[in-house]
Symmetry: C2
Subunit: 368 residues, 2 copies
């Protein structure tokens, strides 16, 4: 009696996961975190109107969600002044990245990303047998020119670029990115992850024609809209590419209440503006907390700040370990020299006060 | 400037979808359905405790869900008296079927199912390049012996069997199924879809050792627990197989509020019993409505009833079209001779009254 027969690809895959969740850390610590500032969740939360809409919709949770996400896509199309046929809604950007990689990548296909960029994208590429080529950050920023040159060199089908970037929080101005895009090799799709773009200065999102077949943009309700737990992301691209998702996606994968909540969140522009202001203030507060210990922070166009701990990765890891042991959930870049930093998500004053209390001890612990 | 390069497999896939949702039908009708009895949703809804838990959890939707679904898996493990390592939670059975097919099936791999069984499973198999072999129903029931014989003949890696069955509502007793399983060929995994099993008579679920490597069982909160819109399913199997999902699944794919709601629903055994009683009464009511027009219904172990319209598929399709035009959303089997039936989901009295009103006219319309 033998077991199931996996594909060769699956047999070759390691049993790793892209991220360990904070709940698992809490279970092994035996206690909850006092401040949850490690996953770039938006602690300021979603629009109260979105919460109210979701609570009302819960009574109807016996119904499947609309598999086409019609109403949400219609509102997004209006919001972005594109056609509904240019938008696909999915189970967070993570889910959409998985579908996108599946559409393009088979064993041996080349993909380019930055060394230290989003691990879940890499997880999906590996999961479909793609071969990842990584280029380093330049001055703590992703380097479009280096990425596109590498893509040409290896014949990449996909190149991933987050703008603003995670985990560093840095960004490129839209016009510069649009110009760089001219160097994309033929037949290579730019996966432009704009998860954090609502926090960024005006003009950070490049002006790209929606029917440009060289680019797909990823957006989410997890960050500025404060609904990470709802799992609603969307992608915008040329109609043909968007339509191809329908060949493979889980058509009934969307939570009905989340669809309704996202629609309500999108319509509350006032709350979004308030959130962005709150986040900007928290970024300043994190910079102050770091500066009071003589440390430098990177300018950020996101809801998190990379704090340069001033020494090497081992030192930063000790700072992080001490913060975690003090009940402050934070994460940090994986790759040198970016791993000299720790990455702290923005939160309300209460969370920032806890951080301010814990931070000096974290540094003195790390120096021991 | 050329477009993206899809995989050969994706290029070959048709742009079909497994199901058109009722919302899309409503939009093209220009009006809402009066009764939603076509998708085997549970109109009786989830436990009020689950609704309350979800409404309370909405305030915390800014947090990602626990990627391990720890608390829900722990409760499910206790409920089923298996280990947590024997359970994976996913985005509905649809999502889990997609992952399972991906684990096993590559281009050309053989898969066996019944002709007329769950289209979404077939969609996933086609989506990974698998080759479907179908065996007919026997007496409106899936035929385990024929399925397993075919699996041996074609060297199938997967064989799909729903017990109780959808779309017919028929079932096999657990002991008979457990005996049949001895005919499963070596290296073929039985995908036992038990989405409706909570509605079925005691003993319908076969007694299978949890570490038996030949079977994976799929369960859901969409049916008896009344939470289709939440998208929570789970699979139970040997630990090694369950662990392999971690190689490929969307680890952060679960809606946080849905996880919490499912846990609360699981703990309300009283509501589940009430729901099953309500469903049983509605099944009787559907049988009465059919009998009053001289029609026969199939015995059902699910929350829907297949009404034998007494003639061929074309006749049944006309009955269905008339019901739909009268505002009653129903569906029907795709394949002859099962397509002589229409499939009606159970609902509360109000919905059954609407059905009772519309049904005689549907038959007279069909006879025109």
């Amino acid at each position: 009696m033998s077991g199931p027969r996996y594909t060769n690809l699956v047999e070759s895959l390691p049993a790793t996961v892209p991220f360990v969740g904070p709940e698992e850390q809490e279970r092994s610590r035996g206690t909850s975190f006092a401040a949850r500032l490690g996953a770039n969740e938006n602690v300021f939360g979603p629009s109260p109107k979105a919460i109210a809409a979701m609570q009302a919709a819960t009574d109807d949770v016996w119904m499947y969600g609309d598999p086409t996400s019609h109403d949400l896509r219609q509102a997004l199309a209006k919001h972005h002044r594109v056609g509904m046929e240019n938008i696909v809604v999915g189970e967070g950007i993570d889910g959409l990245l998985g579908y996108l990689v599946r559409l393009m990548i088979g064993p041996g296909d080349a993909v380019v990303t930055s060394d230290g960029a989003y691990p879940t994208f890499n997880y999906h590429v590996a999961g479909f047998g793609g071969v990842l080529h990584k280029v380093p950050y330049t001055d703590d920023r992703e380097d479009p020119s280096a990425l596109f040159t590498k893509a040409k060199e290896v014949g990449a089908k996909l190149v991933y670029l987050a703008n603003p970037d995670n985990p560093m929080g840095t960004w490129h101005e839209g016009p510069a990115l649009a110009r760089a895009q001219d160097d994309l090799p033929d037949g290579c799709l730019l996966v432009l992850d704009e998860a954090y773009v609502e926090f960024a200065p005006e003009g950070t999102a490049p002006n790209i024609a929606i029917d440009d077949p060289r680019v797909i943009r990823m957006r989410t309700f997890s960050k500025a809209y404060g609904m990470a737990g709802a799992r609603v992301g969307y992608a915008m691209a040329a109609a043909e590419l968007i339509q191809s998702f329908d060949k493979i996606r889980n058509h009934f994968g969307m939570n009905r209440v989340a669809q309704i909540g996202a629609l309500a969140a999108l319509q509350d522009a006032e709350w979004l503006a308030k959130t962005c202001a709150d986040v900007a203030a928290a970024r300043d507060r994190i910079a102050e907390i770091a500066a009071s210990e003589g440390l430098h922070t990177l300018p950020s166009a996101t809801n998190f700040v990379a704090v340069d701990c001033g020494k090497d990765g081992d030192f930063a890891r000790r700072v992080l370990a001490s913060l975690v042991s003090q009940g402050i959930f934070v994460r940090m870049p994986f790759v040198a020299p970016q791993d000299r930093c720790i990455r702290i998500s923005c939160g309300p004053n209460h969370d920032m006060d806890l951080l301010a209390q814990a931070f000096p001890r974290a540094l003195s612990d790390a120096r021991k």
